[in-house]
Symmetry: C2
DNA sequence: ATAATGCTACCGTCCGGTCGGAAGGAACCG
DNA sequence: CGGTTCCTTCCGACCGGACGGTAGCATTAT
């Protein structure tokens, strides 16, 4: 069954390997390999064999570190979501002004896309392949991020900073969509810098296109 | 090889079947079956056998009507894109005012999502599974839709209807994302009507959130 | 001795696609 | 009208390959 997901690292006897070799590296290189391949070809079209090959390992090694192929997918999804939720709390703590918060949230979302590109792509494309409970759990956490958007907008409406005829639910879906969609086109090395895009998006949403 | 894609319908001897039976129905029921299954489980996780089963047919029938499983995917994608492009031209012909055009384009995009739900889902989720030339072709046509958005916005900027500091490329990506993302949450029978969502999106983009 | 790590070989299953043929209307011939 | 041939439509059995996962073993550090 391998240690796979639950690993009592503290109580486990830790082995020491020569010349800086660390089995945790093996695990990471498998994940890195998987990230690249799955982002490119999709989960179902990436075989465990290919993941192992690119990491210069074998299937045996893979199944020593992961309980199953799905377990790997789960790991990637959780890794991404945890980073998201952590950054989210920081934003909520940093400012109280709805407009500033929305601005920051947009910038943060786009930065995530640029930074965790493979994670994001995999998250949106392969989310539905998670089984039962896991899907529910991931969807719940994802809901938290969207709830943050919605809360900020609703807050802005009640405090009179935003127009009174705005429906926070709909505005949230629009905002989330704008930012999430960026994984389809935003390139880190491309002509559009993340900051510039964030500024344009913020301006469009807050002040509108009209002159 | 079956007739598959190119079918000289006019010159072909047309068989007439009893009591209104039409082999074209078989083809359509296969497509309908496929739309439902692929939307739900994804292309790779839907077997040809399952598609045939749900249409109360066999794999043999499937492979009589389609050259391959990919051929079916191609058909679905093209069906959707053709409808998109046709509606697009109508919008461009109907009005000249950039604001009106953007409004109409938003409404149109959302209506498409509601109407062609399965098509849209499959289009975005399984686009990358198209092979070589086909992918290029589909991406090209998709680019036409986005170019329409971009053109309208750029036009609005040069004519002074939109703010001069708007980058048409970025604004387009935002708009497209807002609308495309709707396939993830917009339900025809749900609490949010398409018209209402379209109105809110338009207001947000054109006038902005700020009071 | 024990536990962790990784490798090789292997298994069972599922799935896309093929092939030969059956059923039956359409067309031509007489 | 009867008989024959052709074509379309669909069936059902089958094949080859790929893939997820398993089992047993070798190596190395504690």
């Amino acid at each position: 069954m391998a240690r796979a997901t639950s690993r009592p690292e503290s109580t486990r006897r830790r082995q020491r390997w020569p010349d800086g070799y660390d089995p945790e590296n093996t695990r990471n290189s498998l994940i890195t390999s998987a990230l690249g391949l799955i982002e490119q070809r999709g989960f179902d079209r990436t075989s465990v064999q290919e993941i192992a090959d690119q990491a210069q390992l074998t299937k045996g090694a893979f199944y020593h570190h992961f309980a199953s192929k799905d377990d790997l997918l789960r790991h990637i999804q959780e890794e991404y979501l945890e980073a998201q939720l952590a950054a989210l709390q920081k934003i909520e703590a940093d400012s109280d002004d709805p407009a500033v918060r929305v601005r920051e949230l947009i910038r943060f979302s786009l930065t995530s896309v640029a930074e965790y590109r493979a994670h994001v792509t995999i998250f949106y494309q392969e989310r539905r392949y998670l089984t039962g409970d896991l899907f529910a759990e991931v969807t719940r956490k994802r809901g938290l991020v969207e709830a943050a958007f919605a809360g900020m907008i609703a807050d802005g409406v009640t405090r009179g900073v935003f127009r009174p005829d705005v429906d926070p639910r709909i505005a949230t879906f629009g905002l989330v969509g704008m930012c999430a969609w960026a994984y389809q086109w935003l390139n880190v090395g491309g002509p559009l810098s993340v900051d510039e895009v964030a500024r344009q998006f913020s301006a469009m949403v807050l002040e509108g296109l009209s002159a």
